[in-house]
Amino acid sequence: MKLFIKTLVLVLVLTACTQDDNTTLMAYNNPEITLEIPTDFPELNDAVYNNTPTEYGVALGEKLFFDTRLSADNSISCSSCHIQESAFADHNPKAIGIEGRIGLRNAPPVQNMAFMQVYNWDGNKLQLEDQPLVPIITHEEMDSSILEVMEKLEEDEAYIELFNLAFEGEGITADGIYNSIAQFEYTLISANSKYDKVKRNEGATFTASEAQGYAIFQDKCSSCHSTELFTDQSYRNIGFPINPNTEETGRARITGLAEDYMRFRVPSLRNIEHTTPYGSFGQFTTLEALLDYLDSGVLEADNLDPILKDNNNRIPLTAQEKTDLIAFMKTLSDVEFLGLND
């Protein structure tokens, strides 16, 4: 009798399972988000096509981006160092993690990532999806682990639902975390600055100083700060003051090539007014100081960029030229993107 009941229960359980399986086949309505590619922008990183932003994917990524539970002591989130008003960078010379721990480099802005082919100061990542794990586990940043993060998120019903909606019922997964954060970041596109509006003939016009600055920029800066991203994404040693941290070797840390020693990826100049300080470890607190340095002469190095080498290790600029250049660079500020409009 007992056995019979047990068997009966077993059969019922199995039947129940089959029914459950059927019900999980429900469709998830999660429309894709079309990224609007601004005029004259370069092509998307191919990785975007493998991780196309969706409505819930982006919503999940945004929630995670602002969630302090990604750090070991729940004190910092991605948005602690990537602040919208600063073009998703911050104002510390070097990034500050949990317990005030100071990192190696300046936190880079998170903007127009979908169009970048290489990420970070040394280009160590080629796909945005590979990046979120780095701050999560790094001692000087969040000092957590992906399983620790997943455990915390599992306790939150809202997350479980959002993961299911974003990734067709897969629940909370490590890839879901990486992919959704990347999806959110892909949507952070800055292309509505005064510069853009002038270029697109939307009624804006440069002042005399801005126009003069733009001419100087095209003459002396645009060979590196090229394309509508204002970076050619190459790695160059431009003789900036060297980070005293012995871990810093620039791009050479990745390639192992002596020629890449202290080379860094050319940074974008978009929203530059709002991303002070400047340089790989925040060497310069103002654009004036940075231009003064380039004008007065940079550090000599075997692999110093040829453009500087051919010009006596400097980019000569008069006081007026500096003023005009800075006026132009400020036209790259996108108040809408920065959330600073009215």
Binding site: N50, G123, D130, I137, H139, A174, T249, D260
Partner: protein, 289 residues
């Protein structure tokens, strides 16, 4: 009903014993234990702080005295090769059950037991110094045990910025004034969206060693003693390295921890150059059946 149950249980137990006893007489598999001895030449290494008198001191070909305070490396991708050429992979795609961190400061880690190796005569062993690129992603979800072990404070073999493992971690001192020696190796490869590695260096090295005596797995559980001679670090087959403190990275190897520009010289010395030198600092001390 109860009696029937007991009867079935008894039958199961008897059958269980029978299968055990048949195993004992003609086992299909047994353990193989790898024992690592870290040396300078023929002298097993004793670690020590800067002025420790007990520390084993080595002199490089360039004439620099040096000793270690910390010595760790990852062994993975282990394969045993039978006399007929058959290769028996040992959990080569599973870091939790097929990879280990050898830590000179922790005697337990110097032995690594390979369980359930099929009965046979083995004449060669292959293993990796470091972690194969396809597994070197700090994937805690797939391999939580290895991740935990490699990342513990005692071990510290996570290379966070490269989202990979440290393959080797050596801290120590060199020259008579005990300047800091620090060497970490790891891969810096990065994939494009198609999974191709299009930049970075691969510090993983595949090592292969012929066994001096055939390891006979069956009723015996052989022990393979492997020597890792860290004299090779500075005085290897590929490079004779002079440690310098200068900032000039082109001036030979610096003891800087993360100078990828110089890292590969050390890697080639201890793990072999990946082409004609496939043993690096490793050799077989003995095989005991």
């Amino acid at each position: 009903m109860k009696h029937l149950k007991n009867y079935i249980l008894l039958t199961a137990i008897v059958l269980g014993f029978m299968s055990c006893s048949s195993d004992d007489s003609n086992p299909v598999a047994n353990n193989v234990t790898l024992e690592f001895t870290n040396t300078f030449g023929d002298t097993p290494i004793t670690l020590g702080a800067a002025n420790a008198t007990e520390a084993t001191v080595n002199t490089s070909d360039a004439g620099q005295v040096h000793h270690f305070e910390e010595l760790k490396y990852v062994i993975s991708n282990i394969r045993l090769i039978k006399a007929d050429g058959t290769e028996i992979p040992y959990n080569v795609n599973d870091l939790d059950n097929g990879a280990t961190v050898i830590n000179q400061a922790n005697t337990e880690t110097l032995s690594y037991v390979l369980s359930d190796i099929p009965t046979g005569d083995y004449t060669e062993i292959k293993f990796g110094l470091g972690v194969r690129s396809d597994l070197n992603t700090l994937d805690q979800v797939s391999f939580p045990a290895f991740y935990e072990n490699a990342g513990s404070n005692e071990t510290a073999m996570h290379w966070e910025w490269g989202t990979g493992y440290r393959f080797t971690k050596i801290e120590g001192f060199y020259d008579t004034d005990n300047k800091e020696l620090s060497f970490h190796s790891g891969s810096t490869l990065a994939e494009d969206e198609d999974g191709n590695y299009i930049q970075g260096v691969d510090a993983y090295r595949d090592v292969s060693l012929s066994l001096s005596t055939t390891a006979v797995v069956g009723s015996n559980a052989p022990r393979i003693a492997i020597k890792a001679d860290f004299d090779y670090l500075l005085s290897g087959n590929s490079h004779t390295i002079t440690l310098v403190t200068t900032d000039d990275i082109s001036n030979n190897a610096t003891p800087s921890a993360h100078t990828a520009t110089e890292m590969m010289k050390f890697v080639d010395n201890i793990g072999g150059n990946g082409s004609d030198d496939t043993s690096g600092m490793f050799s077989i001390l003995a095989v005991e059946n």
